[in-house]
């Protein structure tokens, strides 16, 4: 059911080890594997697709430059990427940028080949309600939902990324899911 499957940690470590040796194939593989989650993370807050392209490319240019200069991330690559993406968004829009209505319009049920067509029809019919429910959440709650449940980051990674403590993230994720449930139930 998870839409965006990030590379597992072991694979990430292997890629990172090769990338630190400036293995160009590994660097290209990192771009292929991590483009989609980073682009999704940025695109849902940016109305303009072209602007999302620019911001996403800025994130990966920073990553490649870091590898070139020997300043590659030492721990979680995906944590590093989302932190840079978050900073890029803040640089352009300031803190607290919520998912925009236009961007959420782009948010559609995941296309899975093995999905039951009937379920997919229901999902499509329901997608409008889900988007509206997401719009009503705070920026922090939206971010926690996406980082935790769409991007698959752990509570610790999410807390580190957002600059909050773990208990705050636990509370945020609970209120986000509870809000989503309430909005979906009333609509």
């Amino acid at each position: 059911m998870i839409v965006i499957v990030l590379p597992d940690i072991a694979e990430e470590d292997r890629l990172m080890a090769r990338a630190r040796q400036r293995d160009k194939d590994a660097l290209r593989q990192i771009y292929q594997d991590y483009f989609s989650p980073v682009y999704n993370f940025i695109r849902l807050r940016v109305d303009d697709g072209q602007q999302a392209d620019d911001l996403t490319s800025e994130v990966f240019v920073k990553l490649m430059t870091a590898f070139r200069d020997g300043k590659a991330p030492r721990q979680s690559l995906r944590g590093w990427l989302f932190r840079v993406a978050r900073n890029v968004l803040y640089d352009h829009f300031g803190a607290g940028q919520k998912y925009t209505e236009e961007a959420l319009e782009e948010w559609v049920p995941a296309s899975r080949e093995d999905s039951d067509p009937e379920i997919r029809l229901l999902q499509l019919a329901d997608s409008q309600r889900v988007r509206r429910a997401m719009e009503r959440l705070s920026a922090d709650q939206q971010e926690v939902l996406v980082l935790r449940f769409a991007q698959g980051l752990s509570v610790e990674e999410t807390a580190d990324l957002m600059g909050k403590n773990i208990n705050t993230v636990k509370s945020l994720q609970f209120r986000a899911v509870n809000g989503l449930r309430q909005f979906l139930g009333t609509n």
Binding site: R22, M64, V108
Partner: protein, 287 residues
Amino acid sequence: MASNDLINAFHDCLGLIEQGQTLDQAIRRYPQFADDLRVLLTARDIVPRYELPVAEVTAARSRIQPLIDQIIDTIPERRSRPWLIPLLIVMLLLVVILVVWLLGGRDDAAPEPTLTAPAVVVTATVEPSASVPSATSTPAPTLTQTVVTTIPATVSAPVCSQTLVLEGVIESVSGTIVTIYGLQIQVADASGLLPGVYARVEGCQCDDDDACGDAGARATLVVTPSQQPPPSGGNDDDDDAGGSTGGGQSGGGMTNPPPDSNPPPGQNPPPAGDVDDDDGGTDAGDD
């Protein structure tokens, strides 16, 4: 407002589901929150079901790809150097060997000049004998040891840390062993050295085992029969000669006093400091 218990239960159930448990298995641990948890966990499952259209993401990736490729192409690939570590080890070993060789070479080279110095070997020379002075005099046994400045080790000079001067009557001669005041001194040639002869022994003590070791000796000794010290009440014309070795005592027929005889009253042994200024037994004949 949800209680902390419900928040924590929700968090625990998320962890259990991520570990592979089913929703029902996860909820079973918290029966008091079962209904709430089921709704929340179902709602949570909605989020991953949505994504941006794959075509849009793919198109965006393709648009950015040339820029990323351009940057990657400018990154110089770091070549692996499997020979680097063995090379470093070999270089390190060479440095260690060089240091050891240098240190060992210094030890060998330092004492070399003194080893070749001829004065290190025990030598004993006997100069033409002067007449043994009168028997009335009771020469005081003189054992003078004067510390002099250490001579730097050079090629031409022996290392002399102390100058030893011994004057007295030869007590016995046995082969090449001459005994003066109980001290046995080996000489190369004992001819001319007879018991009862007053003799002077000058020595240069060598403290360096390496320098003196070849000869098994510690001093350069010169045994010289010399004149007896002036008798008590004797003339004082040899003040400038200094000390008991100054000689200046003429006249023969003197017999040697016993080695352990005491000087007569008023006859003190010469001051030790005068010995070095003395010309030794060679002055004896001048008087």
